[in-house]
């Protein structure tokens, strides 16, 4: 190694030799099954990545670090923002160099799309903990998903909103892929239930000034508003503006997907969000024994309460699926057999009863209608008020 390094005195060789020798350090033991997890562990989406990690760690704490005598080793790789080139490079290295048997994680759709073409050749299944576009599932038969899709959470919400006797809606979504999907799904559901979306507003990404939007909602004479924004500062701005500009006091109802009221944002949203109705697959406050155990382990892994949110449950259930895959293949690398083994798998998740749909390999789950309210201790929670069991992804329905 050393003599070869001298041979390539050019900086590139030197720098990369450094790279190589460092990563040789963790060579695999005889019966260790490696699992590569790609997610945003740093940068603006680090909280979501931390939730991936918390979900994984929570599962390992509860179930131990081995399955059927096979030790599990997790290799985390950071992908801070959507970057398909980097995603492919990371996945390739995990498969070829680190020799992982399973891939998991993936927060953004383009990254998932860059990884799926590698799966067949690498003989590796990919369990997606988040990336939520329907089309990922059709790009490779070796993909299983334990998160949700925007259409999946929005469709029951649209129905429930129309069932409340509201007929005139305005939709206000952020102008990018998932926002446009949400608008379409909501409109379809509301119209099917006899309601009407009188105006569709698309808001620029990253804007935090919403008073003109509120004015448009007021001018349209809406009784209900459907909103979809990426979580973070824009969400806070939107909900505050909705309350401050008098729309909320005037009795206009705000509906949204659960991304807007993720638990880590609730303390900041506070009173402004009270009474807001959201549709989503998971609330930290979900009332079940399994969930209480999960939340306790998850909060410990993430380092305290208040940071645990929905990507953690995707990761936790993803680990459950991967463990079943390992058990079904007896620790041997056989991606097809592994995926085959979890088709139709049903279990009790912290979010409620779930099942891997055998046809689409996407998770079938209960979608809850929740209201932002205070619990007995005075903390803001997403209180579940209605449930729609057995929801598949409408985007994949044939």
């Amino acid at each position: 190694m050393i003599s070869r390094r001298r041979f390539g005195t050019f900086l590139r060789a030197g720098a990369l030799a450094f790279a190589g020798s460092l990563s040789f350090a963790h060579a695999a033991a005889a019966d260790t099954i490696k699992l590569g997890i790609v997610g945003p562990f740093s940068g603006p989406f680090a909280l979501q990545g931390k939730n991936f990690q918390a979900g994984v760690e929570a599962w390992l704490t509860q179930n131990g670090k081995s399955v059927g005598g096979h030790e599990i080793e997790i290799v985390y790789r950071d992908l801070p923002t959507a970057n398909p080139q980097q995603a492919r490079a990371l996945a390739q290295e995990l498969i070829v160099k680190d020799k992982v048997q399973y891939l998991g994680g993936v927060y953004f759709t383009p990254d998932a799309m860059a990884i799926t073409p590698l799966l067949k050749q690498g003989n590796v299944p990919l369990v997606i903990f988040n990336a939520a576009t329907s089309a990922i599932m059709t790009s490779s038969p070796l993909v299983v998903r334990t998160s949700f899709t925007t259409a999946q959470t929005t469709t029951p919400l649209g129905k429930a909103a129309a069932d409340r006797g509201i007929t005139k809606f305005v939709s206000a979504v952020t102008d990018y892929g998932p926002g446009v999907d949400a608008e379409g799904a909501f409109k379809k559901a509301v119209e099917a239930a006899g309601g009407q979306v009188v105006e569709t507003i698309r808001m620029p990404l990253n804007t935090t000034e919403f008073s003109p939007i509120m004015q448009r909602i007021r001018d349209a004479g809406a009784q209900g508003v459907f909103a979809f924004l990426p979580s973070g500062p824009p969400t806070l701005g939107f909900v505050k503006a909705f309350s401050d500009t008098g729309l909320k006091p005037a009795g206009v109802k705000l509906f949204a997907t659960g991304d807007l009221t993720q638990e880590s944002d609730l303390p900041a949203l506070g009173e402004a969000a009270a009474g807001m109705i959201t549709g989503f697959h998971y609330a930290i406050s979900h009332d079940s024994e399994v969930n209480r155990a999960f939340v306790a382990a998850g909060e410990k892994a993430i380092g305290g309460p208040g940071q645990l949110t929905f990507p953690a449950v995707g990761a936790y259930d993803g680990m459950y699926v991967i463990a079943k895959m390992i058990a079904a293949t007896g620790g041997k690398q056989d991606a097809e057999k592994a995926v085959e083994a979890v088709k139709g798998l049903a279990w009790e998740s912290p979010r409620g009863p779930v099942k891997i749909d055998p046809e689409t390999r996407h998770i079938t789950q209960t979608i809850y209608l929740r209201e932002v309210a205070k619990d007995a201790k005075g903390n803001w929670i997403n209180k579940e008020i209605q449930s729609f069991p057995g929801q598949k992804d409408p985007g994949l329905a044939k």
């Binding site: 070869r4 041979f7 390539g8 050019f10 900086l11 590139r12 060789a13 720098a15 990369l16 030799a17 450094f18 790279a19 190589g20 460092l22 990563s23 562990f41 740093s42 940068g43 680090a46 931390k50 990690q53 985390y76 790789r77 950071d78 801070p80 923002t81 959507a82 970057n83 398909p84 080139q85 980097q86 995603a87 492919r88 490079a89 390739q92 290295e93 498969i95 070829v96 160099k97 759709t109 383009p110 990254d111 799309m113 860059a114 073409p117 590698l118 050749q121 690498g122 576009t133 089309a135 790009s139 102008d175 990018y176 892929g177 998932p178 446009v180 990404l205």
Partner: protein, 331 residues
């Protein structure tokens, strides 16, 4: 050395030798990359793709003195053009690279036409505005570009009809390496040509060049087109190797990163662009693998240290070291 950076006749033979030596070094480093790191070829291909972008930026910043924070507009144009062509049945890799180069050159012409209206800071702002506009256009035209989900599903034909762009990425890497070497050699000829000299002259003393009767705009806009073609090839290479094109390829972040890599390596030397890219991306890659949670802080600290201790860029510092060594050898 004169103000225009022209060297006396006697010294002309040495730069040519230096060029040949640096091309040989790139080939050698590239080949050793292939043998030493057969499991990292996807990453190395990404390095080459970005290296082409940084080279193209060097043409504009280093040789013409036009600061730009929007170079990814050209890279993204090439990536999307190649991606869209590939989805529409043009799968031959060489043809896709040419399509990327053409798209980059056309975008470069347009970008140049806008940016050359201004000077200094307004010019920099224009470059940011252009990349943001293109980013938004790529986001909006989802039917064409896939929007924020990215453009996916392209299947480039095997290289020479034989070598697949597969999991191991050997074909993609060697293809990229060949492309880089040829491009680098051509660019060396370009910057040594009278045209390249005029560009450098315009950077260092525009008044004097105009006194020679040379008008700046046609020269600079040509350089923009060439720079666009190089960046476009980088984008097309990325599209072929990854088979997905995302919005990140026309982002401000990528443009800014390219500038960081260029400054790190050293401006106006072409080799600096390559060294900067390789060093920056390797450091990032290695540290992020060791600690995926807190690596950004460490990378930031290392960059600050490098810029403080090597203000002329890594290649400038290497040159200085070489000069010192030579002086010591010749008492």
């Amino acid at each position: 050395m004169t103000a225009l950076g022209l060297k006396p006749d006697g010294a002309q033979a040495r730069p040519l030798l230096r060029d040949l030596a640096s091309i040989a070094l790139i080939a050698l480093a590239g080949a050793s990359g292939y043998w030493l790191f057969p499991d990292n070829l996807s990453f190395l291909t990404r390095v080459i793709s970005v290296a082409l972008l940084v080279l193209s930026l060097d043409l504009v910043v280093g040789y013409c003195g036009i600061a730009s924070l929007g170079q990814a507009a050209l890279y993204g144009a090439g990536a999307y053009a190649a991606g869209i062509a590939c989805l529409n049945g043009v799968t031959e890799p060489f043809l896709l690279i040419l399509i990327g180069a053409a798209a980059g050159a056309v975008t470069g012409l347009m970008m140049g036409a806008v940016m050359l209206r201004a000077h200094g800071l307004p010019q920099l702002v224009l470059s940011i505005a252009i990349v943001q506009l293109l980013h938004e256009a790529a986001n909006k035209l989802a039917w064409l570009t896939g929007g924020s989900d990215g453009l996916s599903g392209m299947l480039p034909a095997p290289l020479f009809g034989l070598f697949e762009f597969d999991l191991w990425g050997r074909a993609a890497y060697l293809f990229g390496l060949g492309l880089l070497i040829v491009t680098f050699a051509l660019l060396r000829l370009l910057v040594r040509s009278p045209f390249g000299m005029v560009c450098r002259g315009l950077k260092e003393d525009p008044l004097r060049v105009s006194a020679l009767g040379i008008s700046a705009f046609p020269v600079l806009i040509r350089m923009f087109a060439i720079s666009g073609a190089v960046a476009g090839m980088g984008g097309a290479l990325g599209a072929i190797a990854t088979q997905v094109v995302g919005l990140d390829s026309v982002s401000f972040e990528l443009s800014a990163n390219a500038l960081v890599m260029l400054v790190l390596g050293g401006l106006g030397q072409l080799t600096g662009a390559l060294i900067g890219t390789v060093v920056f991306m390797s450091i990032e890659h290695v540290i992020a693998a060791i600690n995926p949670f807190h690596w950004m802080t460490l990378v930031g600290a290392i960059l600050v240290a490098i810029v403080l201790f090597a203000p002329r860029g890594l290649s400038g510092t290497l040159d200085e070291l070489a000069r010192l060594l030579r002086r010591e050898g010749r008492p």
